[in-house]
């Protein structure tokens, strides 16, 4: 369907009135993207009767220079350079009425180091465009020239491991529960028990900020008492993600400064604070030797449905540029959305220096990260010690496994819950390194470790039948065997 260019050239291009987008220079099938171009891949669902090429050209137009009618003022500019160019449209396999549109943008269209500017262009206006039923930003190729204008993760995986003195295994965490209602003193109790029991981190939940039952300073003070006590009790470095999310930047800076003053190694923010606030906090974190945890609060409102919104792989790329150190990226086996192949794609985006195109993981472009720090993915939500072999197999070693209920809900108490998770993890890593087929022998390996660890035995017993088997709403469009000409 990738026919020849229909662009009207010369004087006729600028005759007053309305002209189809595909004739205005937003559809250029012969265009070869430059190494410095940003490329966006959209899933376009045109309204019935709308030509997919015209719909895709409209997306290119409305996300770059176009408006609904021809304007003579284009002629005062190097308009051809600034027009985004849709250069390829493919039908989406097994999805009638949907098309993948590849659109190239010149680097000059974007401000250096600004996710706000990048996203205002690419997803600013066009998602409400009437001729489209739905539109989804699936993936982006970010040229090295643009990647290099961003700070990237404040700390990165390697330095985080060096600072925490933890190598060779996933890190362990837990979100304090109940999410709401604990006083500062009670809250700190949960933190202490979990850290002393063997976890590396505990975490505030996304909506723990400063409420009537617990103002933020109370939480910070009791949490740091808990962290330091657990450090002395174990001889290990420990941390708790103090959520500094607040109504204004001034409040967030105040909370972050207090966390630093108390000696915390890590703070946290929510995705809902916005891209610019995230970039500001990333710069603060770099200046203050702080690890920066991001909770992706709110993302499912636009990432989950396959036909409309922004894919989480794009959000993950933006967040790596923006400079957070941790990002929740799915568990596969837990309670929240996450098809294995798609999740693998997200994890690769977080952790690799180069992502090759892997359509079967939903990764549509080769992406070089040009030595930008790596982000630690976080697996959280409905996971427990009995799944340790599957978690290690799906998610690998550079990940934070967060067992909230799976720690705090342990029948023998929080310390026991933490110990169960740590023993299960260490036993599995030991077995993997010994060359054992840990995925298939997993239950056996856990049972053997439980023989000398009563808390693990109890955990395996209480959660043995817990699984979350539901169909994913978002998965790759290409099967591993499909060959697609690129």
């Amino acid at each position: 369907m990738n026919a020849i260019s229909m662009t009207v050239r010369g004087k006729d291009r600028y005759k007053s009135g309305v002209m189809e987008y595909k004739k205005m220079g937003y559809w250029e099938p012969d265009y070869t993207p430059k190494d410095t171009d940003i490329i966006a891949l959209f899933r376009v669902t045109p309204q019935d009767g709308v030509d997919p090429i015209e719909a895709s050209a409209a997306v290119a137009g409305e996300s770059s220079t176009a408006t609904w009618t021809v304007v003579w003022t284009d002629r005062l500019t190097a308009a051809e350079k600034y027009r985004a160019k849709c250069f390829r449209v493919d039908p989406v396999p097994n999805s009638p009425g949907q098309y993948f549109a590849y659109i190239a943008y010149d680097l000059d269209l974007f401000e250096n180091g600004s996710i706000a500017n990048l996203s205002a262009s690419i997803i600013g206006n066009v998602f409400g465009f009437k001729p489209l039923k739905a539109l989804r930003l699936e993936d982006m190729r970010l040229p090295v020239a643009y990647v290099k204008t961003f700070q990237g993760p404040a700390t990165g995986i390697v330095v985080e491991r060096e600072r925490m003195d933890k190598f060779g295994r996933p890190l362990l965490g837990a979100t304090v529960k109940p999410k709401l209602g604990l006083s500062g003193r009670n809250y700190g109790r949960v933190v202490y028990e979990a850290l002393k029991g063997g976890l590396d981190f505990t975490k505030d939940d996304e909506n723990i900020n400063s409420q009537p039952f617990m103002h933020w300073r109370e939480r910070f003070l009791y949490c740091m008492e808990a962290v330091n006590k657990a450090q002395a009790a174990s001889g290990e470095i420990k941390g708790t993600y103090l959520n500094v999310t607040a109504g204004t930047m001034e409040d967030m800076y105040e909370r972050a400064e207090f966390a630093k003053e108390l000696g915390s190694v890590i703070i946290m923010i929510d995705l809902v604070i916005g891209y610019t606030a995230i970039q500001s906090m990333a710069k603060w974190a770099r200046r203050n030797d702080m690890i920066l945890h991001l909770h992706r609060a709110g993302h499912s409102t636009y990432t989950r449905q396959r036909n409309h919104g922004v894919s989480f792989r794009v959000i993950a790329k933006w967040m790596r540029l923006a400079g957070v150190d941790h990002i929740h990226a799915g568990t596969v086996v837990g309670k929240l959305e996450g098809d294995p192949a798609t999740t693998r794609g997200y994890y690769d985006i977080c952790r690799e220096d180069f992502n090759p195109t892997r359509l079967e993981h939903g990764v549509f472009f080769d992406q070089s990260w040009a030595s930008l720090n790596k982000m630690m993915p976080v697996a959280s939500g409905g996971i427990h010690a009995g799944q340790m072999h599957q978690l290690l197999d799906h998610l690998g070693e550079d990940v934070i496994l967060q067992f909230g209920g799976g720690t705090i809900g342990h029948p023998m108490g929080i310390q026991a819950g933490a110990t169960a998770n740590r023993v299960a993890l260490e036993a599995m890593i030991l077995a993997r390194n010994e060359g054992r087929d840990y995925l298939h022998e997993g239950p056996e390996i856990l049972a053997k470790a439980a023989a000398t660890c009563t808390p693990l035995k109890a955990a395996l017993e209480v959660w043995k039948d817990v699984t979350f088997n539901y169909e994913s709403t978002d998965m790759p469009d290409y099967a591993p065997t499909a060959s697609v000409s690129m």
């Binding site: 060779g168 330091n228 174990s234 001889g235």
Partner: protein, 141 residues
């Protein structure tokens, strides 16, 4: 108390056979294994003393186990750990680290609280053993 630094401290102490398998895993990945020892296990004591250099170009775990046995003869009353270094671009740091020897008795750490303005507290972790000079801790030789 039991210092739980390193990758396998929550498991029963590893046997030499288990240690050997972990070393072989490191060597198979192209990492150089280093033996380090200390009698100051403070969680922020990054630089334990090195027992020689990381063993680059080694193929057989037996070489590390031999050195470990020598190190134990001299420093068997201290903490000894193995650390594996990965020189690949983008990592260039430790990949695996675990304790392979401990003092017979681990007295642990004292948490000192220095109370400051408001409700602030400055915390300091002190190893009970480190109150004595190096070499005389843990009953020293």
């Amino acid at each position: 108390m039991r210092v739980t630094q390193g990758c396998f401290s929550f498991l029963p102490d590893l046997t030499d056979e288990q240690i050997s398998k972990q070393v072989q895993y490191c060597l198979a990945n192209g990492w150089a294994v280093n033996i380090e020892f200390t009698d100051d296990p403070h969680p922020r004591n990054s630089f334990w003393e090195m027992w020689g250099l990381p063993m680059f170009d080694l193929r057989d775990a037996a070489g590390v186990l031999m050195e470990l046995s020598e190190c134990r003869k001299v420093y068997g009353d201290r903490y000894i750990r193995l650390s594996a270094f990965d020189s690949s671009h983008g990592w260039e740091s430790v990949r695996l680290s675990f304790i392979v020897n401990r003092p017979a008795d681990e007295p642990g750490f004292r948490l000192d609280r220095h109370e400051v303005a408001g409700r602030g507290i400055r915390y300091t972790t002190n190893s009970y053993a480190a109150d004595r000079p190096e070499g005389q801790r843990y009953g020293g030789k």
